[in-house]
Amino acid sequence: MRFAVDRPMLWLVEGVVGGLIAASLVGFFLSLRVKSDSGKATIQNLNARIRAWWIMIGVFSIAMLVGPVGSLALFGFISFLALREYVSLIPTVPADHRTLFWSFFVFTPLQYWILAMHWYGVASIMIPVYAFLFVPVRLVLSGETAGFLDRAARIHWGLMVCVYCISYAPALLILEIPGYRQQSAKLLLFLVIVVQFSDVFQYIWGKLLGKRRIAPLISPNKTWEGFLGGVASASLLGMGLWWMTPFSPLQALGMSLVITLLGFAGGLIMSAIKRDRGVKDFGSIIEGHGGILDRVDSICFSAPVFFHLTRFFYITHGKTT
C-alpha cells in the first residue's frame, strides 16, 4: 500500500520546502550581517540547525514516499538510536547486559514489526505488559541483586519512552478513520509538523523576547516568552492545517495545543534527566541539535496522547470499517 499523494499533501511539501529555503536565506544574510563573536556563534548554531533540518526532512520525505513500511523502518531506527543514547547516559551494570541486548535486538524490532502487521491490539500492550514482565525476570536470572529495582526501572523507562512512545507516531498510519482512509500519512505529518514547529517557534520567540526563565534549575534556555509564543504560534499553525486532518479548525487547534504542551513537557523531562547526569545533550549525531533523543523528546510525549485522542474521538467504536 502506498499513500495517495493528493493536492493538500503537495501544498504541504511546497510549504515546508519554501519555509526551509526562506530560513536558509535568512541564516545566510544573518551570517553576513552579524559581527560580534557571541552573535556569530548563535548564527553558526542556527545555520547548523537549518542544514540538519534539510537532511531530516529529506530522510523523512523518502520514508513517507516508500509508504508505511518506510516510515515504520525510519521510526524503528530512530527508536534504536534514541534507546542507545538513553542507556549510554544512565548507569548500568554488567548484569544488565543480556536484558539490554533483548531490549535492543528483540523488543525494539518486534514493536515495529507488529505495527507493520497492523496488530494494533498487540502493539499497544507488547511493551507495557510483556516487556514489563520480561525485564525483571531476565534481570533476576542474572543473579545480581544490588540496585535491582533501580536497574529494572531504568530499562523499563527506556523501553517505554524510546520505543513504545515513539512508535505511536508511525502507529498513526494504521489508524483507519472513516472517511479518511489511505490518508493517515497526513496525520503523521500533522503531528511532526506541529511538534517540530513548536520547538522552532519556542527557540525563535525565546531568542527574540526571552527574559523570564520558566525552569531555571532544569533548562536555563527555556523562558516563559518562548514557551507561550511557541505554543501559541504552533497551535495556530496546527489550526491552519485543519484541512489535511479529519478535524474541524477548532478541533485542530485543540489537538495542536495538547501536542505542543506535551511536547514541551517531554523536552523538560528529558532535560531533567540530562541535568541529573551532568550533560547538555544526549548525543552529537545531528549537528546543532545534539542527539536523536534531543530532537524527538517532544514526540515521545505527544505522540501517544495524540494517537489515543484521535482514536477515541474519530473512530466509531463497535463498528469495524
Binding site: F80, R84, E85, V87, S88, T92, P94, H97, R98, L100, F101, F104, G283, S284
Partner: protein, 208 residues
C-alpha cells in the same frame, strides 16, 4: 586485508558508536606507540578503526597469544589486523618468564624498526572498566629502546559496556575514543616514574 579490515573496523565502530576526539594531539603519520586502557575484546578493533585510513596500514595492535592464538580469532587478529601476538607472563620459573618477556619485547622492537606504529594495552589484561590497573613494565623497556618514538595515551570509554568480560553478544552503547597529548619523558626517568606518568596521562583523559 585492507577492504576486510576496513569493513570490520566500520562495523565495530558503527556498533560501538564511537565518537573520536584528538586532544592536543594530531593524527600524523609519524611513528607512534598508542597505549590504551583495556576492558573489552573490541578495544584494539575500535582504536584501530578510530585512526585515519592512512595510519591504519602502518599501525599494528599487540595482542595476547593465549587468547588470539588459534582458529577464527587468529585469522581475524593476524590476517585482518596484522596483530603482533605476544606471550603474557608465562608460567614456569623466573628465568623462563624473563626469556618470554624478552622475546615479546624483541618482537615489538622489530616492528618499530620496520617503521610500524603499535597499539598496546599496558595493563596486560582486561579490567572491569572502573579503574585503570598499574602498568606492566614492557612500555618502559620499549621507550628505553626507542625514545624517539612518540607515546600517545588513548582512553577508551564504554567499550566494557558494549562487550563486557565473558559476554559474546554486544549491546550498542555509545563509546568514546580520546587521543591525548604524547608523553614527554624527562632525561632521567626511572621505570617507576615513567610508568606512573604514562598511567597518569591515561587517567587524565578519563574525564576529559
Amino acid at each position: 586485508m585492507s577492504w576486510l579490515g576496513n569493513a570490520v573496523a566500520a562495523g565495530a565502530r558503527g556498533l560501538a558508536g564511537a565518537t573520536v576526539r584528538w586532544l592536543d594531539c594530531r593524527p600524523e603519520t609519524r611513528q607512534r606507540v598508542y597505549f590504551a586502557n583495556h576492558t573489552s575484546h573490541l578495544d584494539f578493533v575500535v582504536l584501530w578503526s578510530a585512526l585515519p585510513r592512512a595510519l591504519r596500514a602502518q599501525t599494528r595492535p599487540v595482542a595476547a597469544n593465549d587468547y588470539w592464538h588459534s582458529g577464527l580469532r587468529r585469522r581475524l587478529a593476524v590476517g585482518v589486523f596484522h596483530a603482533i601476538l605476544v606471550d603474557r607472563s608465562a608460567s614456569g620459573d623466573r628465568e623462563t618468564q624473563l626469556q618470554s618477556a624478552r622475546r615479546s619485547l624483541d618482537l615489538l622492537v622489530d616492528a618499530l624498526e620496520r617503521k610500524e606504529s603499535l597499539i598496546i594495552f599496558p595493563e596486560g589484561t582486561r579490567g572491569r572498566g572502573e579503574e585503570i590497573a598499574p602498568f606492566k613494565s614492557g612500555l618502559y623497556y620499549l621507550w628505553l629502546k626507542r625514545p624517539d618514538v612518540q607515546f600517545v595515551p588513548v582512553y577508551l570509554a564504554n567499550l566494557n559496556r558494549v562487550l563486557p568480560k565473558g559476554e559474546v553478544l554486544p549491546v550498542p552503547f555509545i563509546s568514546r575514543v580520546a587521543f591525548g597529548p604524547p608523553l614527554q619523558p624527562g632525561d632521567n626517568e626511572t621505570k617507576e616514574s615513567f610508568l606512573r606518568e604514562a598511567r597518569n596521562a591515561l587517567c587524565a583523559l578519563q574525564h576529559a
